[in-house]
Every structure is written in C-alpha cells, then in structure tokens.
Symmetry: C2
Subunit: 154 residues, 2 copies
C-alpha cells in the first residue's frame, strides 16, 4: 500500500470545478429543456440519436450502445416514451428477437421543436463562454479520456 498521491492545488481545482460544472449545467439544461419543450434530458437524447439516423429508426441494442445505456434502462424508458407517442416499436425483419425503435411524427416534431432552444442553452451556459483554444482543448482532452475508457483493457 503506497502512500497515495493526492491531488495538488491545480489538479484539485480542475477536478472540483469539473464536478461542480457538471452538476450545475445538468440542473440548468434539464430545467430549461423541461420548461421549454416538455422533455427530460434522457428523452432528448433518445429522440436526438434517433432523428440523426437515415430512417429515423434503430435497433434497440444499437441505440443502447450509442447512448451507453443498459438495454434494460432503454427498454423501460422506451415504454414510457411509447406511452406518450414519441416512438414506436417494430419487429426486426430478419432477426426475430430484435426490436426496432422508430421515431413517430410526434417524436420528430418534439425534437425539432426542442433542438434550437436546447442548443442555444448549451451555447449560453457553456460553449459561448469558452475561447476557441479552450474548446479545442476540451475536445482533445475529452477524446483522450474517452478513448482510454473505451479501450478493451483500459
């Protein structure tokens, strides 16, 4: 058991700042999104990912992988979104197990109505507060961390 290497002042500032930013940004973006568009962030993410596919449809497992969600979580969430008419399920044409998640017209309308305001909020509270250098640094750094965590033996 080696002596732990605690964070120095700069590292601690970055780590604490990151966590605090996360929390505050989440709260604010979720609040505005719900108020302006009646969607939760998970709702928005599902609709957004679906709307970016060519046919507005994705296999459940594929969608779950993209979102980094468990299939169970997605299945539960889709059930709720289906209740509200935002998505439907179709059978997979060749794989009898598969379930295809499809964006309904109402779902498409919802994401199209929500997107401009949400992007504006992301700009207002984050992107537009950063210098171009900071944006590039954030892009580079997050990608490096993500690549490590996604690597097979990370």
């Amino acid at each position: 058991m080696d002596a732990p290497r605690w964070l120095d002042a700069r590292e601690a500032r970055a780590w604490r700042g990151y966590r605090r930013m996360r929390r505050l940004l989440d709260l604010e973006l979720a609040r505005e999104l719900m108020q302006d568009a009646g969607l939760s962030e998970p709702d928005y993410d599902v609709l957004s990912d679906l709307s970016e596919t060519p046919d507005q449809r994705l296999r459940l497992s594929e969608l779950a992988d993209r979102m980094l969600w468990s299939r169970s979580r997605l299945s539960h969430h889709l059930a709720r979104m289906q209740q509200r008419g935002l998505i439907t399920r179709e059978e997979h044409p060749s794989d009898g197990r598969g379930s295809i998640v499809v964006l309904t017209p109402a779902g498409r309308a919802a994401i199209e109505a929500a997107a401009p305001g949400h992007v504006a909020a992301v700009r207002r509270h984050l992107i537009d507060l950063l210098t171009p250098e900071e944006i590039d640094a954030l892009g580079a750094l997050t990608q490096r961390v993500v690549d490590r965590l996604s690597a097979p033996k990370g």
Copy 2:
C-alpha cells in the same frame, strides 16, 4: 424566432466529448468505488464533505448547499446512510428546527479506506492523462462556467 446557431465541428466535438466522458467516467469510477470500498458516489461525496469539516459535522442545510443537493434528497440519503451506521443526526443546540449530521467512527473509517483508491482512480482515468496546460485550462473553464451558473441572475 431567429435561425438557430448550430454547433460547428469543433464545438460539437467538445460537447459530445464532454458528455461521453462524463458518462464513461461516472460508470467506471462508480464501479471501482463500489467494488473496492462498498460505497456509491453519493455516499462518498457525503462522507468526503463531512470529513473535511473541522468537527466532522455539518448542518443538513449547509451540507445540502455544498453538495448542490435538495434537502429532500439529502434527507432520504442520510436515512439510508444512518441505517448503515455511517452517520448520525444530532439536534442543533440553538435552532430547534436544525439537524446536525455527524460522521460516525465507522463513517470516518469508510472514507479513509476509500479515499486513496478513489483518488488513484481519478488520476488513472482523468488527471494523469492530461497535460499541465490542459489541467489549468480545465480548471479555468469550469470555474468560469460555474461562476456564471451560480450568479444570482445567471
């Protein structure tokens, strides 16, 4: 309704990277923390904040404010932690409404056992992957965003 200013390629990379990093980092840190120390991240945060105070005790509302949690959430969570013997509640000496959250010896032992491993994990998956410049940039940028979001009229 002005035409929305969508994110350009660099901005989108930063934003997507940030969200993906968040998710992956959360999953991994929570997984290791639970496995190594039997604590959830919320558990750790409560214990950590408490252990950093001079007397290992804080008023509930004060702790909630520091953590950016609602009082309701904290109250529920403390009930569960109290069940496990990690914290206790005491009466406030002068304010009859107040409840003081106190770290128990078991709680102190838990955070002391968990901290070295957790800090090491934070280093391994984030801090040690960044250059000193990136750490400073992250510290500066998060602080700016936090300050804006914390401002009275944000």
